[in-house]
Symmetry: C2
Subunit: 118 residues, 2 copies
């Protein structure tokens, strides 16, 4: 179910270590040992995080190569970003309104200054 997939994606992203692992994988495949390296964490703890990411479909682990590299899978993240799109319009509108407001007070301020000069 799409809704459950979204929940799984967002739950998987709700952890800084998991986000750091995904970030590392944007620059290419990596083994579990390589992924564990930057963290002050046991290998089993890292493996647990990888399993969460795998269950959410955000990464996959090759069964073919002996070093079993992990790699990013694009789809769940794309769907999560698509879910966010309507909100993008919301915050962009907010910035547009702020922009209009700033333009308006700058205009008024300019008018006041030129009135003072007269």
């Amino acid at each position: 179910m799409a809704s459950d997939q979204l929940s799984a994606t967002f739950a998987a992203l709700a952890d800084p270590t998991r986000r750091a692992i995904l970030s590392r994988l944007t620059s290419g495949e990596a083994s579990v040992t390589e992924l564990a390296e930057p963290f002050d964490m046991s290998l089993p703890a890292v493996t647990k995080h990888l399993k969460v990411l795998q269950r959410a479909g955000l990464i996959s682990q090759s069964r073919e190569a002996q070093w079993r590299p992990c790699k990013l899978r694009a789809r769940p993240m794309r769907e999560a970003a698509e879910w966010m799109e309507p909100y993008r319009r919301h915050w962009e509108q907010r910035f547009d309104r702020l922009d209009d407001f700033l333009r308006e007070i700058t205009r008024k301020d300019g008018a006041a200054t030129s009135r003072k000069k007269k």
Copy 2:
């Protein structure tokens, strides 16, 4: 801390009821009773979800009006979407590669067809 804010945002989004509440709020402010209406859920259960959204900064509740309307706050969602941007490049590249591949096989297929015709 930015990282904790992101975790709080994603954790808050990892629930279909909370996402539905946010979706409702894109069309304007609403009272708790209005937000609870579409759900087969007790008011305290809905209030609990609203508290998670509020703690993550995704919504705010006015203290002034007597009906205490809830409204969307844009910033945390914007930051979450910004965090996703590098991954957008990743999946768009994947689509580009798929596109190149499809173009390539179409081209080869076209060449084979015209050879057969000769």
